[in-house]
Amino acid sequence: MDVIPVIVSGIASGSAYALLALGIVIIFRSTDTVHFAIGDTGTLVVYIAALAVAQGAPLMVALVISLLLGGLIGSATQRLLIRPLGHRRNIVFIALVVTIGLGLLIRALIGAVWGHQATPFPPLISGSVSIAGVVIAANKLLATGIALCAMLLVGWFFGRTALGAAMRASAEDPFAARLIGLNADRIALLSWFLGCSLATLALFFLAAESSLTPTLANHPLFRAFAGVFLGGLTSMPGAVAGGFAIGVLDNLAGRYVSANFRDTIVFGVIVAILFLRPAGFMGALRTERV
C-alpha cells in the first residue's frame, strides 16, 4: 500500500505545523492577536542557538536555552508591542498588522547580521530510520516524538493545573477572570511565552532538516495557518489535529495530484471546508469584534 509511507512522512512533517498552529491558537485565545511573526521569532532564536553551538555548547543545552529565549522574546513582544495598543476599535487587525511588521523587522535583522546564505544546522541525532516502508531522518522522528510530548505536556498543563485553568478561564471571559482576582497581564505574558516557545521548538528541528535561512519559517507558518483554519482559531486540540492533517494532506496532494500545485490544493481544500463549516471543525466562531 503506497499510501501509508506518504501518510507517515506527512505526520512527521505535520508535527512542526502542529506545534506552530498550537502556538498561534494559544496566543490568539488569550490576547485576540494573530501572531504573524511567531515563526520568525523561532528562526531568530535558532540563529542565536547556532552561535552558541558554534562556540561548543552541547545541542541539548542549546535546545533548552532556545525554548526559554523564544518564550522570553514572545513575552517581551506582548508587553512592548501588543499591550500598548490598548483596546482600540479594530484592535484585532491592528495587532495582526503589527506582527506582520515585526516579522519583517526580524527577517531583516537576521539577514543583516547573518546574511542570506543557507547555514546548516546540526541535528540532535543523525542517520535515518525505516518505518512502514518509508525512510525518515532519525532527527525528524525525534522531532515528531518531542513535539508530541510537548503537546501532551501543554494539554496536561491546561487541563490539570490551576494556572492552566486560569488561562482557559481568562480566554473565555476576561471580565469574570478579573472579577475573581486573576491577573490578566500575567496570563497574557505567559501565553505568549508558551506560544513562542512551542514555535521555537518547531523551528529548531526544521533548521536541521532544511538549513537555516532568514525565511525558514515562511513555508511551515503558512501550513500552520492552514491547520488553524481547519481546526478553528479558538481550539487547541483542533490546531494540533489541523496541523497534522495539513502535513498529511500536503504530502498526499504532492504525491497523488501534482507536486506543482501543493499550495493551491491545500488551500483549496481549506477554503472548501470553511465554506461548509466557517468555524473550522472544532472551533467556535467568535462573535465579531471588528
Binding site: V34, L81, P84, L85, R88, R89, N90, V92, F93, I94, L96, V97, V98, I100, G101, L102, G103, L104, L105, R107, A108, L109, G111, A112, N218, F222, F225, A226, F229, L233, N260, F261, R262, D263, T264, F267, G268, I270, V271, L274, F275, P278, L285, R286, E288, V290
Partner: protein, 611 residues
C-alpha cells in the same frame, strides 16, 4: 458638493503637474522619471488596499493577485493587438468580476478569517502564475509585448510609461473618490461601522462587501497595467507575498481613505529601498520599523495624523452640543413639547405611510439549548395602534424583538405575519422591505458616518425599498433636511455619533427610522438612559409618530411611559404572556405587580426565616 468637485479637480491637477514637471520639462533625468512612474503605479496599488480596508475593514495581503491579473492580462491582450484604451476597461471588468465573486464569500467569514484567506490567495496565485506558462512565461517571466494605442496611433514604449501611469492614476483616483464619497461609499461605511444595525436598515452586507471588493480589484488591476508598462518585464516574484506585505506597509504608513496617504505610502516604500540602495536588509528593517512605530503612535497613518495636528482648532464639542441641547430644553413648558409633538406628527405623516397591515404573532416559542426563552407567545399590533410590551429582566422581551428582527429563528411558531408577508420566511435584511423597522436600546448609530450622512443612507434605502410616504416625491437630501429640522438636529448634523450625548444619539436613531419610513416601528427600550428633559422630548416625538398613524411596538422598562402612550399592553414573564389589556387594567393587575416588583402585601421576615 462644491468641496468634492474641488478636491477631484485638485487631484487631476496634481497628476498633470507631475506629468509636466517630470515628463515634459526635462527637470529630472530618466532615473527620476522611473522613480516617479514607480511611485505612481504603487500609489494606485496602495489605493486598492486602502479602499478595501476603508470600505470593509479587511486588510488584504492578496491583492497582488489582482495586480498580477491586470499585468498578465494586459500583456496577453496586447499580443492580440488590442489597444490600451480597450485593454483598461476589459481588464478592470475581469478583475472586478473575480473580485466580486471572492468578495461574496466574505459574507460567510468574520473579517479576521477573510483577511487570513487573502493570505491564501497570495500564495496560490503565485503557483498558478508559475504554471500557466503559455500565458505568463512561468517562473522565467515574459517581456511586455508592444501595446498599441488608438489615441497616439502607435505602439507605446517605455517613455510613455509615465504618462500612462499618471493618466491611469488620475482616472482611478477620481472615480474612486466619486464612489467612496457618494451614496455607495456611505453604505459601505455604515456596514463597516455596524453590521447588525445596517442589516435592520435593509442593507445587504455580503453584497456590498462584494462590490467593494470588485472596485478594489479593478483598481489593483489598473496598477498592474501601469506597472507592466513601466517595468517592461513580468515575473511572478514581483507579485509575491513580500510585495503584498509592502503594500500593507505603505497603506498603514500613509493612512487609509486618503489620496495623499496613498501617494505618501507609495513614496515611502519605493523610496526607502532607493535610499538604502544595496543594503536590502537595512531597507527592510526601516520599513518594518516605521510601520510598527506608526501603528503604535499614529495608528490612523501619518497623513491623517499630520492633518489632525494642523487642524487642532476644529473642536470636538460634546460639551457644546450638550449646552446647546440643555438650552433648547430649558423652556420646560408643556407648550414646547406640544409644538414638538405637532411638528413630529406633520413630519411623520409626511414621511411614514399610515399603517395598513397588522403584525400578528401567534404561538411563538423559542428555545436556546435547554432554555425556553419564549413559550407560546401571541400578540398583535393592529394598524396604527401602539402596543406596549413590558416584563421583568429575563422575561423574553429581547428575544421576541430579535425574532421579529430576524436575528433569531423561532423553535415553533404558528404565525408571524406583517400584513400579507410571512416574516419567518424572510431573511433579516429583507424585513425592512416588508415594512418592519426598529430602533435600538443603545442607539447603535454608525461611527464612521455623520448624522447627516446616516440620514442620507437611510433615506436612500427607504427609496430603493419603496417604503416611506415620501419615497417617490422627495429626494434623500430633502428628506434628510426635513428630519434635521424637525428633530432639532441641525447643530449636530456634521458630527459623528461618538461626539454626541446619549440622548441626542437616541433621537438620531428615531430620525433614522423616520428617514426610512417603515409602517411599523418596534422601539427597543427607547427611554433607557435618558434624563428628565430627554424623556419628555422623546415622549413628544413618540406621540407625534402615533398621531400620524404609524404602528408602534414599544418595549421598555419605563413602565409608566409605556402606559402613557400604549393603547394595549402585553406583559411577559418567564417567556410567557401573563397579562394583556389596557394600561389601566394592567396597572391594577395583581399578577403583573407580583411579577414586576413584588406585591404590596408581602410576607413578614419571620415567615421567611421559617420557610
Amino acid at each position: 458638493m462644491k468641496g468634492d468637485t474641488r478636491r477631484r479637480i485638485a487631484i487631476v491637477l496634481v497628476f498633470v503637474l507631475v506629468w509636466v514637471v517630470v515628463g515634459r520639462a526635462e527637470l529630472v533625468g530618466d532615473y527620476g522619471k522611473l522613480l516617479a512612474t514607480t511611485i505612481a503605479f504603487n500609489a494606485i496599488a496602495v489605493l486598492s488596499i486602502s479602499t478595501l480596508a476603508g470600505a470593509t475593514g479587511i486588510w488584504s495581503l492578496g491583492h497582488t493577485a489582482f495586480i498580477a491579473l491586470g499585468a498578465y492580462l494586459c500583456a496577453n491582450l496586447a499580443k492580440m493587438q488590442i489597444p490600451l484604451e480597450l485593454i483598461v476597461p476589459a481588464v478592470a471588468a475581469a478583475a472586478a468580476a473575480v473580485g466580486y465573486f471572492l468578495g461574496l464569500s466574505a459574507g460567510r467569514f468574520s473579517i479576521l478569517y477573510f483577511g487570513l484567506l487573502t493570505l491564501a490567495v497570495a500564495l496560490t496565485s503565485m503557483e498558478i502564475i508559475g504554471r500557466m506558462i503559455g500565458y505568463t512565461g512561468g517562473d522565467q517571466g515574459m517581456p511586455m509585448p508592444p501595446v498599441p494605442s488608438w489615441l497616439l496611433q502607435r505602439n507605446l514604449n517605455s517613455r510613455d510609461a509615465l504618462t500612462v501611469a499618471l493618466a491611469l492614476g488620475a482616472i482611478v483616483f477620481v472615480i474612486t473618490d466619486i464612489i467612496i464619497k457618494g451614496s455607495r461609499g456611505r453604505r459601505w461605511r455604515a456596514i463597516k461601522s455596524h453590521r447588525m444595525a445596517s442589516i435592520s436598515m435593509g442593507l445587504v452586507p455580503h453584497q456590498e462587501n462584494a462590490l467593494a471588493f470588485a472596485l478594489s480589484a479593478a483598481i489593483a488591476s489598473a496598477a498592474g497595467i501601469a506597472g507592466a508598462l513601466a517595468i517592461g518585464y513580468l515575473e511572478p516574484e514581483s507579485f509575491n507575498l513580500d510585495a503584498g506585505v509592502m503594500l500593507i506597509v505603505a497603506t498603514v504608513v500613509g493612512g487609509i481613505a486618503s489620496f495623499w496617504g496613498a501617494v505618501l505610502g507609495a513614496a515611502f516604500v519605493v523610496g526607502t529601498p532607493e535610499v538604502f540602495r544595496g543594503l536590502h536588509d537595512v531597507s527592510a528593517f526601516a520599513l518594518g520599523f516605521v510601520m510598527v512605530a506608526v501603528l503604535l503612535f499614529m495608528p490612523r497613518g501619518v497623513v491623517p495624523a499630520l492633518i489632525a495636528l494642523l487642524c487642532w482648532s476644529r473642536q470636538r464639542a460634546p460639551a457644546a452640543a450638550q449646552a446647546k441641547h440643555a438650552q433648547h430644553a430649558q423652556p420646560d413648558a408643556a407648550d414646547d413639547h406640544e409644538q414638538l409633538a405637532q411638528r413630529i406628527t406633520a413630519l411623520a405623516a409626511q414621511l411614514m405611510p399610515a399603517a395598513k397591515s397588522a403584525l400578528v404573532v401567534e404561538n411563538l416559542s423559542v428555545s436556546f439549548g435547554g432554555l425556553k426563552a419564549l413559550s407560546d407567545v401571541s400578540l398583535q399590533v393592529p394598524p396604527g395602534q401602539t402596543i406596549g410590551l413590558i416584563g421583568p429582566n429575563g422575561a423574553g422581551k429581547t428575544t421576541l424583538l430579535n425574532v421579529l428582527s430576524g436575528y433569531v429563528t423561532s423553535s415553533s411558531c404558528k404565525q408571524l405575519q406583517l400584513g400579507q408577508a410571512d416574516l419567518a420566511a424572510v431573511a433579516h435584511y429583507r424585513r425592512l422591505r416588508q415594512g418592519f423597522g426598529r430602533t435600538f436600546q443603545h442607539a447603535e448609530l454608525f461611527n464612521e458616518l455623520t448624522i447627516r450622512e446616516m440620514l442620507m443612507v437611510a433615506a436612500s434605502v427607504g427609496r430603493t425599498q419603496a417604503l416611506g410616504a415620501a419615497a417617490g416625491v422627495l429626494t434623500p437630501e430633502q428628506i434628510t433636511q426635513l428630519i434635521l429640522e424637525g428633530l432639532d438636529l441641525n447643530e449636530v448634523a456634521e458630527r459623528f455619533p461618538d461626539e454626541l450625548p446619549f440622548g441626542i444619539q437616541k433621537v438620531a436613531d428615531i430620525g433614522r427610522i423616520l428617514a426610512i419610513g417603515p409602517s411599523l416601528v418596534a422601539l427597543d427600550e427607547p427611554f433607557s438612559g435618558l434624563d428628565h428633559s430627554e424623556t419628555r422630548e422623546l415622549r413628544a416625538i413618540l406621540l407625534g409618530m402615533k398621531a400620524a398613524g404609524v404602528s408602534i411596538l414599544i418595549i421598555d422598562h419605563a413602565v409608566h411611559e409605556v402606559f402613557n402612550i400604549a393603547d394595549q399592553v402585553v406583559v411577559l414573564d418567564f417567556g410567557q404572556v401573563i397579562a394583556s389589556g389596557t394600561p389601566r387594567e394592567i396597572q391594577r393587575n395583581p399578577d403583573v405587580q407580583r411579577a414586576y416588583f413584588g406585591s404590596v402585601a408581602h410576607p413578614t421576615k419571620e415567615d421567611a426565616a421559617h420557610a
